[in-house]
């Protein structure tokens, strides 16, 4: 398998840690969601401009048609923003708890947002049933609620299929549910406990889960990312883990996963599939090992490129040309002010390959 070199071509900092990002169709700018607000970032110059704030952290950003973006936050809101007029178009409260993740359908008609607060339901901290629908489907055009779907909290990752007909959502316990967006029926459901941890030491509770998911270009397979189990759920030292599942059948089948010797330790928070589906990128935090973002061949699962960024990656986005990828994340928050302000700790980089 031919190795690829990832070459950093842009390196920008932002005032706040980045949790999410979207790249414009012309790849000249990005909108990034941070701990403390939403920013527009010029990918040529690195100039950034504060746009607006959610009531809490901004967990997701997606680019809609033209100059409109939509963001989701830990305040449970979706916010539509028009970049041309620099104005909030609409705010919609869709969850009582956080929006952990949001996805927009390829035809840009639907938005899926997932939520769920993990609350102790049993002696060993089995999750309580959901107290609100874990999956909300909204019209991207007007924000109207289209459908509410059920899952077990907390639901931390969501994806919409390439044909715009299915939504997949993954949770804390490694349970995946795929629903038909047209009639709301449950199409498939399985659990892959490799992504969750129950603490043998320190705490008898669950932690981890599926943190990112993407459909394959044909829609019959699903890529999942997160972290392998740990004895200590708080250590963050589980294996850097992806899995590829074929779900289009009665018995979902695990086709491939992180190869032996390919991974170190750390929570993987983001997946991105190349426009031509030839490879995918997984990124996150490095706890032990030599990379925290890596390209994998989609068919064989071989690692073909990797980088160690020195900060926690929370978002990976391919440019439309398929030859660049944006990585975003955060370093440690500064521990003191200098000249009356905290130094930047958000990071955005662009890599070419």
């Amino acid at each position: 398998m031919e190795k690829i070199e990832l070459k950093r071509v842009k390196d920008f900092s932002l005032p706040s840690g980045v949790l999410s990002a979207a790249v414009s169709p012309d790849a000249r700018k990005a909108v990034v969601g941070c701990l403390h607000g939403v920013f527009r970032l010029d990918l040529e110059t690195g100039n950034h401009e504060y746009l607006y704030q959610h009531g809490s952290y901004v967990s997701s950003v997606a680019w809609l048609t033209g100059e409109t973006v939509v963001t989701a936050g830990y305040d449970g809101e979706l916010c539509w923003f028009d970049l041309a007029s620099n104005a909030v178009v609409r705010r919609s409260k869709v969850h009582d708890f956080w929006s952990w993740d949001m996805a927009v359908s390829p035809d840009q008609n639907l938005i899926a947002s997932v939520t769920g607060q993990y609350m102790a339901g049993g002696y060993k901290y089995e999750p309580q049933p959901e107290r609100e629908p874990s999956i909300r489907i909204l019209s991207a055009k007007d924000g109207e609620l289209v459908r509410s779907l059920s899952h077990v909290p907390s639901v931390q990752a969501v994806a919409i299929s390439p044909d715009n007909k299915l939504v997949a959502a993954g949770n804390l316990m490694g349970e995946v549910r795929i629903y038909d967006l047209v009639d709301g029926s449950l199409v498939s459901k399985w659990t892959t406990p490799a992504f969750t941890s129950w603490g043998i030491i320190k705490s008898h509770c669950y932690l981890g889960g599926i943190f990112s998911m993407k459909f394959s270009s044909e829609g019959d397979q699903l890529l999942l990312a997160g972290m392998g189990p740990m004895r200590d759920p708080m250590a963050g030292n589980g294996k850097q883990l992806w899995q590829r599942w074929k779900w289009d059948g009665k018995n979902p089948e695990l086709l491939d996963q992180t190869h032996q010797g390919d991974a170190g330790e750390g929570l993987m928070e983001t997946l991105a599939l190349a426009p031509d589906s030839s490879h995918f990128l997984m990124g996150g935090r490095l706890r032990g090992g030599d990379w925290n973002a890596a390209l994998f061949d989609h068919k064989t699962g071989y690692r073909i490129a990797s980088v160690k960024t020195g900060y926690r990656i929370t978002e990976a986005v391919y440019h439309p040309d398929g030859k660049h990828v944006l990585l975003a994340g955060a370093k440690r928050q500064p521990t003191k002010k200098k000249e009356g302000k905290f130094q930047d700790f958000g990071r955005v980089e662009v890599y070419a390959f």
Binding site: G121, G199, K202, H204, M234, A235
Partner: protein, 468 residues
């Protein structure tokens, strides 16, 4: 000086355990006042208990329900001397996500602050239930301590001070059990409820010497989860008379050995045996399934919540100090917000249920409830979006016995980096706890071969603002 209680004890022929104490070389170091809290109320209760024990001496105590079917004994055992429940939030919770939120600031985190029933006081939005009972709580927002690592922090915040080798300062529960406990009660006076067998630094701590110089009889009985108490099933194949004969023989031989050899090991063994013997009679207290289902649901399903309910039950039925821990789940270097979104609401509900429960049962006035960890968490987020250890400015809460509710003591700066008002350290805290429980905080001890020390060193003063 010998107080009334001690005179009472000394004339009781059946108080063998106190006679045993006199022969224990460890106990010979105790000062007179060290054996009692000195409060009139408690003196009366203990004397009544002993009188009740004499009255009931011939009755069977083969089962817990049998024990309390004896009216005089049951009544006195349930009497409300000062008691304490410590919700030990091991691993150290974040003050930002509990008692000292900084909404809208760089350090505030993702959760909002909400108003409470105290005008102008806000706490984390993760604590809506506690927000309605703040008039019963005393919150300290100005804790400033030294240790920044768990083991040392746990040691200081459960014993009250740093180690002073070779002296091992007894843990709070041991002190309270010794000071306020009913020594002849079959109900364990100091109970640790913790289902997590491991827990890194807390595991080391749990394996250590809890009672220090007080002696093994003041160490905790441990229960919860995998720690069901073993060997407390009473053998049914032999008669009650045979049980009593065997026990008399065991006591005679072991005490003779202990006295002849001045054996600490034998003393510890005897203490353990006596406790197991007592446990046989109160095993139902440790069976969660015997608690009303509606209460169990009200407290919540997790182990911490269930054990908080069990703590109330134990206190109600004669225990003096119950420490409720759950491993060390609060140590969220990596999944700070993901864990706190679960842990804090559980704590919120547990505190609410426990305090309202104690109040409804007329027990709050005499039961001190403390919710604290070994330090706080950093204002800043680390690279993993977690919060690290931070002893410089953190929070805790107390309620009930001896504590004035509706008080928020101290303050931190707008970003939570420093204490700016009302600094409280571990000594001030322990002086407050002892004072609230009616125990002399500044009791002086004289241990042969060791420097003089005090229950709380350097005459550190309690926080008068939060004392009744």
């Amino acid at each position: 000086m010998v107080d009334a209680y001690q005179r009472g004890v000394q004339v009781q022929p059946l108080t063998e355990s106190l006679q045993l104490m006199k022969s224990n070389p460890f106990n010979s170091n105790r000062t007179a006042n060290d054996r009692t809290c000195g409060s009139d109320e408690h003196t009366v209760h203990r004397r009544l208990f002993l009188q009740g024990a004499m009255t009931a001496g011939a009755a069977s105590t083969g089962s817990f329900s049998g024990l309390f079917s004896i009216p005089a004994l049951g009544e006195v055992t349930r009497q409300t001397g000062k008691k304490c429940i410590l919700l030990w939030l091991c691993g150290a919770p974040s003050q930002f996500e509990t008692w000292d939120p900084k909404p809208g600031t760089e350090t505030g985190g993702p959760f909002h602050a909400i108003s409470t029933d105290l005008p102008g006081v806000q706490i984390s939005s993760l604590m809506p239930r506690c927000a309605t009972i703040m008039e019963k709580l005393a919150v300290i927002r100005s804790m400033k301590t030294e240790p920044g690592e768990h083991f040392q922090g746990i040691d200081v915040l459960t014993r009250g001070d740093k180690p002073r080798p070779p002296f091992t300062r007894p843990i709070l529960g041991s002190v309270i059990a010794q000071q306020l406990g009913q020594l002849d009660s079959p109900v364990p006076q100091f109970v640790l409820l913790d289902p997590c067998p491991e827990g890194n630094e807390f595991k080391q701590f749990k394996a250590g010497n809890w009672a220090g110089w007080l002696g093994a009889e003041y160490g905790p009985i441990r229960a919860g989860g995998d720690y069901s108490i073993p060997n407390i099933e009473r053998v049914n194949e032999i008669s009650e008379a045979d049980h009593q004969d065997r026990e008399a023989l065991r006591q005679f031989l072991s005490r003779k050995f202990e006295n002849d050899h001045r054996s600490e090991a034998a003393a510890s063994h005897n203490a353990a045996f006596n406790r197991v013997n007592g446990l046989m009679s109160c095993a139902p207290l440790f069976d969660l399934n015997q608690l009303p289902e509606k209460d169990r649901q009200r407290y919540g399903g997790g182990a911490f919540a269930q054990h908080a309910l069990q703590a109330r039950h134990l206190i109600e039925n004669g225990s003096t100090f119950v420490m409720v821990a759950n491993g060390m789940p609060w140590d969220n270097h990596v999944f700070q917000h993901e864990m706190h979104q679960m842990l804090v609401p559980e704590l919120d509900n547990v505190l609410y249920q426990l305090i309202t429960d104690l109040e409804d049962r007329g027990m709050l006035q005499d039961t001190l409830v403390i919710a604290m960890g070994e330090f706080g968490r950093t204002p800043w987020l680390n690279e993993a979006r977690g919060r690290d250890h931070y002893p410089k400015a953190w929070s805790l809460a107390m309620a009930g016995g001896g504590i004035r509710g509706g008080v928020v003591h101290g303050a931190t700066d707008p970003l939570g980096f420093e204490v700016v008002d009302g600094k409280v350290d571990n000594r001030n805290l322990f002086a407050t706890i002892f004072k609230a429980l009616g125990v002399d905080p500044h009791q002086e001890y004289e241990l042969p071969g060791l420097p003089t020390f005090h229950r709380v060193e350097d005459d550190a003063q309690p926080i008068q603002e939060i004392l009744v």
